[in-house]
Each structure stands twice: as structure tokens, then as C-alpha cells.
Symmetry: C2
Subunit: 349 residues, 2 copies
Amino acid sequence: MGIKRRSMLTATTLGLTVSTSTSSQAQSAPQGLKSFGSFHIGGRQASLNGYPITESVFTKGAAPTRVDPNGDFEVEQMYVQYFLPSNQKGKFPLLMWHGGGLTGVCWDTKPDGNPGWMQYFFNAGHSIYVSDAVERGRASWAKYPEIYQGPPFFRTKKEAWEIFRIGPKDSYDVTPSKRIAHKGQLFPTDYFDQFGKQFVPRWTVNDEQTQKAYNALIQKLGPSVVMVHSQAGNFGFHAALAAPDKVKAIIAIEPAGAPAPGPELDKLKGIPILIIWGDYIDTQEVWMRQQPASVNFAKDLNARGGKVDWIDLPKNGIQGNGHMVMMDKNSDQVAALIENWLHKNGLSS
Amino acid sequence: MGIKRRSMLTATTLGLTVSTSTSSQAQSAPQGLKSFGSFHIGGRQASLNGYPITESVFTKGAAPTRVDPNGDFEVEQMYVQYFLPSNQKGKFPLLMWHGGGLTGVCWDTKPDGNPGWMQYFFNAGHSIYVSDAVERGRASWAKYPEIYQGPPFFRTKKEAWEIFRIGPKDSYDVTPSKRIAHKGQLFPTDYFDQFGKQFVPRWTVNDEQTQKAYNALIQKLGPSVVMVHSQAGNFGFHAALAAPDKVKAIIAIEPAGAPAPGPELDKLKGIPILIIWGDYIDTQEVWMRQQPASVNFAKDLNARGGKVDWIDLPKNGIQGNGHMVMMDKNSDQVAALIENWLHKNGLSS
């Protein structure tokens, strides 16, 4: 493909002992459940007027129902589900924010049926708040172009296979047995189609609304640790800029973007930030274009006296992780790195 | 509105002692959590070809991404989240299937923040499987008209206010304080807009696909108790017709439809079925049209030697429940009726 392996974009010297041992918390028996539940947060009311009335049968065998599309709707809210452990070790709630085209499900049980990071960090004693961002999953979505300003996009399996760095460009095939993954790939490729069932449509026009809902969540929960993946990187960093007193740490897994360098970043100096990147970056143009944003962010923030730790997994002896690190076969190993980092920063006992 | 109160559609004599006491299980301390997780089930691959390629910025500050809408997608799957208690009292898994325009969230924490039936039945010792049906919430949805055969419908707050029998026709107002609920209404009306954040778009063209996914869930889990609400009534009854050896009981909360009377119903003779209806039916044309389907179903099935119990809540001294019984202020009281019924049928110890 003409893309050569380039020198790694290591922004800071790794200030961590990378260890494959899992933390003591995660190895203990499953946590007691103090409580669990969910809520919607943020959003606003939108009203539509002037559209024609129709009749439709909604339930087979039922009489037709008159459909008047005009009226009031709740839009741009976010869904949040929480699990509070009996034996809390985390100093603050752990908020898990998914990436583009996905929902909070990406943190839950992995496509291969094994426990995901939601289970890992709950069992490690964190109060877990997993959200579906505005327009995704249980957050619901609104009519377009009447309310949302444009149409949604649907990610193909081929695009996901490539962008998530499971296999190189054009190695996807409609027949699972014919797909050729990256050598040493740790994604459970036999379950790639199962993973495909998690994909949800996404819009490109709702960033502001999404940020607003995330900011509202931080205001509701107060001091929190925010774990972001991919598209949510920007949302997490900007949530911290909006409430640097409340965002107590950020764990950014392959953030697709980051705030531009500049004096604004001084606000984040007091916040421990961990940025993790996986393998095969230099095989995928999208990430070669997108990774520099977080590199420049980390460099600038640290130059200002910030506390950004950067883990380039393959540089630290952990090969084979694509973009969906939390679903990879070594997800517990990477989770343990994160848990150790939280512990070292006084955020998990 | 010219609709008079009519005689109640009580299909069978109530074979239950209606009691406001909650079951001992539900009063005990919160259950231990043996495990929790989720999966997608059902669905198929769909492929699109021949649509134009575009470029879009997906993440603010990130470089534009080329969007090729052509390719393969997983479609028509269903999402299922489970919570397994340490101290299991339920004989079989309890599957909770939501109604139209909603997701599994309707069983979770109520809009007023109090625990819902998901918490109630989990604490009572049931293994809980809450699903988002095909096209809803975390199940995702597919492009239309390319894959789904038509457009979605978005329920207005006014329609919900009326159809869910929170207030009479035209008593909804955009200003919450101006809404006039039914007298004695037990829905927490102060949280109606919060409830509105749970609404998701729905299609009228996916019943067959939805049924298929529910049937696949029954095949995966084996012997199960199915709790259905509203639109899911038909899905539950038909799942039982498809697998009468595996559906061990049906609890139908205000089923919007039911299979037509006839010899086919003989298959359901061995299955205990509980049908529950709330208050204000005769104020709402939709329910006056739709309730008879389950009345006729219950009458015919019982005439064939079936085991359908019918609880008309107001006829049994419980006034004030609209369509969203699981969110009403007395939701624990109605849950206790159900738990007692399960106990009497040997389905909960």
C-alpha cells in the first residue's frame, strides 16, 4: 500500500511500569451490587408543525392508528446506566464514553462472550456510569432534516474491519473465513460479525449537542473519572475544559481528536491524563491523520506542566491491539494497566 | 368526547387474591449479583451496492473521512442485557419485552428515579433478560428504504400522554404545569417529560423480523417466562405458539394485540398466562379497539382448557394505572401481584 512503518509518535516518556499482572481488585470475587439503574440526561424539547397526518397499523391484527407527526419531542438527551459496587475502591465514579457508530455496549460483554471492561472495572470496585451518547442506542434520535440538520451514516463491516485496524486495507471479505486479519491481531476475529451487530448509525452534525449532554452529566455526578474511546476523546477533553474542577482524570483510548495546543490547555494542568494507543497505526491512513491531534495535545499540555502519560502498547511489549482494545483477547491486561495507573494516581485504593 | 364508560371486559373470573403486600423476596435486601452482561441475537447480513461516495468530517478537528455507503451490514438483530442473581428464586429466566416506541429502559429505573420492575424482579430472585427489540435502542436500526421497507414514526408527547392514558384527549399542553391528568392518575406526571426522553422511533414494517429475533432468543435461553408490554403482547404470544415447550409462562401487561381465536391456540393450553389491564380504558378509543383482541384470545383459550388469568386492576380495587403500569407510583404493588402469581404457578420459590 506504499505506507512505510514510521517512527512511533511517543509524546512523553512512559512513566509507568508496564506489567501484565492484573490488579488485586480485578482478581477478587465478583463485586457485590449496591444498586443499579439508569437515567436520561440533557436534551431539550423540539416541536414540529405543518406536516400531513397519516394512518398506520402499528401492531399486526390491531386497528389502524392515526399518525400526526406534528407536536413536541424530547431530543438530544443522553442515556446513562450505572452499577454501584458494594465494596467501593474507586475514589470517584468512572464514566465510560464510547466511540463513533457505537453505544455503551462496546464496554460490556465482548463479542466473544467474555467479560468486558464494564465488568472488569465494576469488579475492581468502581462505580460505573456507561452512557449512550446523543443520537445513539438508548439515547434515541430525532427526525432529520427537521430536527437533526442532516442524514445519518451507516458504517459498513468493511470500513469497520479497516478503521478498527483488524485487518489491512481490502482484507475484508463478505465471507468470514476469507478475511485476512493483521498478523498477531488480538481482536477475536471469529466474532467480528457479532461485533457488527453493535454498530449504530451516526450523524456528523450533533457534536455540540453531544458535548452539552456530556457536560450536563459531569455537572450531575460531580467529581468523576472519564474514560473515553475514539470519537469520545474530544468530548472528554472538552468536558474537562468546561469543568476542570470536576473531571478528576481522563483515560483516553485511541482518541480520534483532541483540543489544539494553546493557553486554554493550562486549565487541564492539574488533571492526570492517560492516553493509550494500540498496534498497526501505520497501516491505516485515518489513524496516521488523526493520532497527531492527541500527540500535539499531550506534548503541549506536558510542556505547560500537565500530567499526561502516554502508553504506546506495542512500544511497551504489548503487540496486536487494534482500535477496539476493550474487546481484544488481552483486554484484561490493558485494563490492569489502567487500574494500576488509577491506583498510582490515588484514584483507586 | 361522547365515549361512555362501558361494562368491563373481564374475560375470566379472577383466580387470585389481590393483595397490596409485597412478596417476601422483594422486601429482602438487594440481591447478590452472580453476573451481568449483554449480547445481540438474531438478524442477518444485508448488502448495499451502487450508492455514491461522499467525504465527511466525523470528529471536530479531525481530517475528513471518505464515506462509501455501499457494503455489508448486520441488520435486524436484537439487544439483550442480563442480570443473574446470586440467590435465584425464579424457576426460569424472566424475559422482559417492551412496547412500541420504547426500549428495555422502560423496565429499568422509573422516570421519577425510583426502582422499576427490572430492579424489583431481580431483587425477587429472577434471572432478568431485558431486550431492546429489532430497530430500537441498542439493537440498532438499518437504512430505509434500502433495507427497512419504509420510514420510522416518532411519537409526540401529546400522543404518548393520551395513548398511555395519562390524561384524556387534548389534556396535554406543551407547558407541563398546564397538563391535566386523569383524576387519580398514578403516573408520576411531574416526570412525564423525563419519560419522553425514553421514546425511540419505530417502524411499522418490521414485525416479522422482530418476531424472528424474539424466537431466536427463546431458542437460545430455553425454558423461560416471558413478560410483555403493549406491542410486545403479540410477539410474546407468537413466541409461545412457535415454542410452546419453551415458553413456560406469559405475563402480558396491556397487550396491544393477541392471536385470533381458533384451534391454533390449543398449543398454549399448558402455559399459564396472566393478562393485566389498568384504568381509564374507556376514555381512550385506541384501547377500546385493541383490548378486545386479548379478551377474545383469553376467552377462546380458556374455553379450550387453557390457563389464562385476567386481572382488571380497577375491578380489583386498584385504581389509577395508565398504560405504563411499570412506571406508576404503585408499580411495586402490581409487581407483587405478578410475583405472587408466579409463586402460585410454581415459577418462583
